[in-house]
């Protein structure tokens, strides 16, 4: 009897915890609308003291206070100027220190972070960024395919411009100071898009999704 009591107690407890941790449900009927939630991440803290803005999702502290808002937003540098392998590879790639120094040899050289950057470049010591978008190890995601996805007319599927394509998943990066995870990156969110974006139906043919949804597209 005693064992069963403990067993049930544990069960109840765990269900409770799971409910607390579960993200709020989303409205599937009107397309996917992701409502960001604040995730409890031990060891990481939401740092809103510098820019005094509310940030959502996971955004760990980074070794350098790099601002996407400044670079991609205010200065309007295209995403792929720095994340250059996104259209050639599975991974988007974090720019090398050399890429940064291409500009920062001349731009804003007196700022403290740029001095750090220069030191890293001179000492050949790479910068250890903390990963924000981290997919489970059993998922294979390719940036290049998503960036290159086009419909039958040759138009980009996920946005009008290349930057918009990036932001379809990464959210309003141009307004973020430190990169933060915008999308939940869970399977439901992936599959929703794979199902929703379809070739428009014609008289002879029903609407066909552009993207496959079979398991081994991502899991192998």
């Amino acid at each position: 009897m005693l064992q069963q009591f403990w067993f049930l107690l544990l069960l109840a407890l765990s269900i409770l915890v799971c409910l607390v941790l579960m993200p709020p449900s989303t409205d599937q009927s009107s397309g996917y609308q992701y409502k960001p939630f604040i995730m409890w991440t031990p060891g990481d803290h939401v740092n809103d003291s510098t820019q005094n803005e509310v940030t959502y999702g996971y955004h760990p502290d980074q070794p350098l206070p790099f601002s996407h808002k400044l670079h991609a937003g205010d200065r309007d540098i295209p995403c792929q100027f720095c994340h250059s392998s996104a259209s050639k590879s599975t991974v988007a790639g974090i720019p090398t220190v050399e890429t940064c120094m291409g500009c920062h040899n001349y731009v804003n050289t007196d700022a403290e972070p740029i001095k750090q950057l220069k030191e890293s470049f001179d000492k050949k010591k790479p910068i250890e960024w903390t990963r924000v978008h981290n997919l489970p190890h059993y998922v294979r995601f390719s940036h290049q395919v998503h960036l290159r996805a086009r419909d039958s007319k040759g138009e980009l599927l996920l946005g009008k411009t290349a930057d918009e394509v990036c932001m379809a998943c990464h959210g309003p990066v141009k307004e973020m100071t430190t990169a933060s995870q915008y999308a939940p990156l869970q399977m439901g969110w992936c599959v929703d898009c794979h199902n929703r974006i379809r070739e428009p139906a014609t008289e002879s043919k029903a609407a066909v999704p552009f993207a496959p949804v079979n398991c081994n597209v991502c899991h192998y």
């Binding site: 765990s14 995730m39 790639g93 050399e98 010591k125 910068i127 081994n216």
Partner: protein, 1084 residues
Amino acid sequence: MSMERETDELLRLERKPEVFLPADGAMEAPAAEFVPGPYYMSADERIPEVADENSRPDHGMAAVGGVTPSEGTTASQTVVDRRDILRFFSAGALMSATACVRRPAEKIVPHVRQPRDHIPGVPVVYATTCGECAAGCGVLVKTREGRPVKLEGSPEHPISQGGLCGMGQAAVQGLYHPERLKGPHVRHGRRHDPMNWDDVFQQLASALKDKKKIGIFTGGSTGHRHQFFREVLERLGSDASRLYTYEANGLFASVARAHEIAFGQSDLPRCDLKKAQVIVGIGSDFHDVGTSVVYHTKGFAQSQPFRGGSRGTFVQFESHLSLTGSRADIRHVIAPGSETHTALILLRSLYEHRASRGSAAARTQVRRFLESYDKVIAGAYQESGVSRELMDKTAEELLNAPSLVVAGGSASADENSTLLQLVTIMANVLTGAYGSTLMMENGWQPSPVKVGDLGRFLQEAPELDALFVIDSNPVFTVPESWGIRSLLEKIPLLVSVQPFPNEVDQIADISLPAHHYLESWGDEQPVAGFWSARQPAVRPTTDSRQAEDSFLWLLAYMDLSLPYKDYRSWLMDKWRRIYHLVGTRSDFETFFKAVLRRGFVGKPGSRTVGELRDLRSYFRELRPVPRGLILTAPLDSRFQDGRSAHLPVLQEMGDRLTTIAWDSWLALSPETMRKMGLRQNQLVKVRGGEQSFDVAVFPLPGLHAASAVIPRGNGHLNQMSTISYQNGVNPLVAFAKKEDPLSGQPVTASLSVELMATGDWYRLAAMQKQNDIANRSDIVKKVSLTQARKNQHKQVDLDTVPDLYPALEKKEYRWGMSIDLSKCNGCGACMVACSLENNVPQVGREQILLGREMHWIRLDRYFYGPVDQPVVTFQPVMCQHCMHAPCEAVCPVFATTHDPEGLNAMTYNRCVGTRYCANACPYKVRRFNWWTHKWGVIGSKATDRNPRALNPDVTVRTRGVMEKCSFCVGRLRDAKHEAKKEKRTVRDGEVKTACQQTCPADAISFGNLNDPDSQVSRERRDSRAYLMLGGDPEHGHYGLKTLPGVSYLAQVTLEEHPATGFGQRAGNHGHPAAEESHGAHDGD
């Protein structure tokens, strides 16, 4: 049940090696009503007396290692309520669920400066030359983020032609092997202390200061390496002659020596097997080890298998079953040790045939020779057991088409081994092979070793002041009776320079870790004038230095520096000569870069070879055929002389004829075993040699009654290697100090031994169980040559099967595979390639004994016909990707589903481990992860495998998950993405699976079945094509109607062959009593 007792029992249960061990019988009980069919997997299906009746898990296993009987029995006695276990596990699962936290933060570390042409996530491929054996195959090293993850044969390279053997594939595991030395070590007594390179060089420099007698002992190489060592020796004040080269594969030395005697050229002829329609092998092993195994397999696959209505013929005479012999159309079993005698009678038959060729002078030499040894030859028929009529017919075959005779191998490494080559040379002169199929004047194969170096070393070693042993392991590969160990121990300063520590390091005063070949510079000359370059594909993974660079450092410390900053610059100096020979218009730097990019350059050399010389005098020493039970120790086709025995992927691959993994065995003819009253897995003491040792016996069909075979390569006593230490036995301890007088190679065959049952048992981890083919005819199929010719233009439609399923939807792609059983030679490279590509774990002997090997592709082998002369079929079996897959229907969580492109997809993160799918799968290809293979433990052997060797593109599976072949879906994705970029569909041949890519026999083709012109579609329509368990569609039987995406092409056999009455034999299969004996086989 009280809580205490419960935990106590569970704890006890945890300590047991096996919780799920069946208590009441063998793992695979024989079918109740067993009907013997034409095919069999184990000799005891024919001769039940040799079966191991004790192979029950709780019975009869001696405490020789591995599973002990006591543990087995107690496990079966422990009674634990299943519900208790479930309760415990679910509680544990919930506890872990409540403690769930976010994954630990991961770091991304980009380059400071991006290397040119490097895109993260995109592999960079380097061309280099394989350094695992002396063959010099070209390989492409696929690196991801700077680390090699997979090796592939270079398609352009004329030696490997895209293929790579299992040992070559496994090299990447050797690179990351955790037990490589982390830095130089100095031995104090039995202790090995680490030291830094500076101190080591200083110590070496002072020790070598006034020493003049310095030697280098190294393995075979055809490149510039030996020249460098000779230069170093001279610089050190020693003599260039103190470079001793030795290869355990005696074929190099004996062939080179024989050609030196016969023609005055100490080289090997290049066997161009693709031009040979008839090949006669006498104890040959070119599919197992040979002198250039991939090149020979490629050639064989182009000339021999059935294609376009014709095929070649391969006749093999051998005393034991080898991979090479298993490919023979006609295989004659001869007495062990009688290879030379067999060659002699073949020579006579050839000479006496009116169509025999050869210049008048050469024919005179042969005539004189035959006259002088008339008596020996007359007795040879009796000795070898081959009749004269048979040999005459074989000779006629040889003379009717482009042909050659290939003889000798590690199984005939006896005192006659060079004489055998001499007879073969004469035979090949008579067949006219030189110049057409044997290249001695045009692009020959330089010998990687100098003949007679071992003998010279034995004489000179006692006087040496210091010896460097580089890339060689003479302590293990030379029989112990030669006293190499004590000889080395007596040398005042012994330095071992090895990429992986071996037996020499245990006695060496100083161990200098050398680079793995993937970290080294170098070159090979596999064919004269044709150079293959070796370049590093990775920065050194441990604190090692290239052997050559170590010498340059040492010379610098001794103030004797050579004017080169490293070995690369020395090498470039030598390559300037090649640059001039090749004669391009570009400058040297561009030329060298182009060579590194491609991997090779060259213009095969040409020369004239003199007439055949008088060979009579050498045959005075011809040894008679030994009597009694003869022990042979051939090289293991997986890791040759044991150089790669520390690689778990090769150990786990298992021998493909016995299917035994992780062990050594004594193969005996089943008939002999029956006469001796021995059973499988029984331990016997092998006596009669220098030392006696215990080994378990295994009945292997196709052996001569007097033949006892233990492959060498296992049985290491090197404590620095967990994987190979005390794994199996080393048969070389039995061989006395005898050598082939002409080549100086140690004798490792033709030893008369006695066997004595010890009464103990040892379970050999044979992967293929018997008795489960259930007499089905649709698993392996065979067609005769006449039938295959008749049906040549006939087409079959395997996909039209009447059933109630809805018709298949036609998509752009339907991926399929076709495997030609005529071509597959069972080399097992596919298994290794698959394991490395797909991160398949190695599980160790204990798990294999429980039937838990994890191979996604396995190599089944079947015997057919009489036990003493079987026909062998190899069948690679992977997931068949059925269109109507039984596994998919039973999965309760949809973890295995069908992909619209015909793939049977396995979603690991969905799998909950019910294993219903494995039960439903009729092909038994699904593998269950009983453990999280931590990449750290192999069976009971705790060795930390380096996770850097994993393929980052394939998920690593955890415990409780089912897995199986995915048709390399990652490669398919990549190919489709590439095609999409270029707005086209995937071209035929553009995407290759890992097994297909490496296959040296080109037996596997893969592609789109919906493209009627693709190779795989054409092969699926071939009249020989059949589906496994697909019944007999021609007669309206459709088998299981699973509609696999994998089709097989039936093996073509010479059923009606006149020389042997093959048809007769094939007819009365399965009844040993009814076999006719035709001279080739007749007891001891």
